[in-house]
Symmetry: C2
Subunit: 204 residues, 2 copies
């Protein structure tokens, strides 16, 4: 799965100090440091030190701490690219863009990485913690911050719960008709839920 | 977890032919037969045969095929009891009763059985299939059938996705504030989603 993370910005600069070994060493070191210290407290300096390379290599290969964290989670998407795709546009239709985006990303991989991630989360407290921090700090939290009027963390959790549940039912449980439904059907059904979690009042 | 499944109707009849060994043998045989044939095609006769006991023992210990299936899944609840609790009352508030019920059941076990179930589903195709059939044939399907105007299977999948996702975020990912939120907060946030999946039009 790491292969689909794609080259970091540095790879396009031509010079490739350290080669692919450096990248792999940084990923291994990042997994250890993020698991031990969490996203906030882990530092690029300590990760580079553990990998035995210069801290500048993190920017060179990954573009920064957040992208290194994402890559270390084996998540085959680029959150920055995804956010740039879905955030522009009418905030009242953001729910539709969120559901469509997750379906597109997951359909492309057939759900295998999702099942692997679920397996890992259910087995290892560190995996659960890292996924929690990915949701809060990187992906869903930023979507919420862009549009939500209040209760950002609750809204992020609720969005995560519905998106994640949809993925489980469609790709892991493979429950019909959700397993084979076209995107339009699922967007029509699920997007209003996401939209409500993003922008509507949450108390009744 | 099986201990909290509780005694089948037969256990209250006084006579206990076969003893607890019979119950365990039936559970073992049921897991094999349900995994091999699925819920619809597995038969009480074949399960009893595999366990080396009389088919009447299934009714005696479990009350029937459905309860034997539930017990074989290590689900620490009695679906019949749950349905009898939540189905009566205003159908327009069923979503609230569903969310409250799942929170109550899961809070009582601290989420351990949920994590174990998720782990099993993500690892074994048979576990995913059995959980799929439990959702369709036993628990969520019956809630949907009681109130939904159409698209029963899609609605059951959608309800399952949100309830399951809520459980994952609260008990397995332990993402705050959902992990520590009181029931009223979560019911207010999630029940309208379940209510919509149960009774509202699903196309926009």
């Amino acid at each position: 799965m790491t292969s689909s993370v794609g080259p970091g910005p540095g790879r396009r600069r031509g010079r490739r100090p350290g080669g692919t070994d450096t990248r792999g060493q940084l990923l291994d070191a990042a997994r250890v440091e993020f698991a031990e210290w969490g996203y906030e407290k882990a530092t690029v300096r300590k990760i580079a030190e553990r990998a035995g390379v210069d801290a500048a290599m993190v920017n060179h290969w990954f573009g920064g701490k957040e992208a290194l964290f994402t890559a270390s989670l084996d998540i085959p998407v680029d959150p920055t690219e995804i956010l740039a795709t879905i955030l522009p546009g009418d905030p009242e239709h953001l729910g539709e863009r969120v559901v469509e985006m997750f379906l597109t990303v997951w359909d492309a991989t057939g759900g295998g990485p999702l099942a692997a991630m679920v397996h890992s989360i259910a087995s290892h407290e560190e995996a659960a913690r890292m996924m929690r921090e990915f949701i809060v700090n990187v992906l869903v939290g930023r979507i919420v911050e862009a549009v939500a009027p209040d209760q950002h963390d609750l809204r992020a959790g609720l969005c995560g719960s519905q998106v994640f549940g949809m993925g489980m039912v469609r790709y892991v449980l493979k429950l019909e008709p959700m397993a084979s439904a076209d995107h339009a059907t699922l967007v029509a059904a699920v997007a209003p839920t996401i939209q409500r979690y993003l922008t509507a009042p949450l108390t009744t």
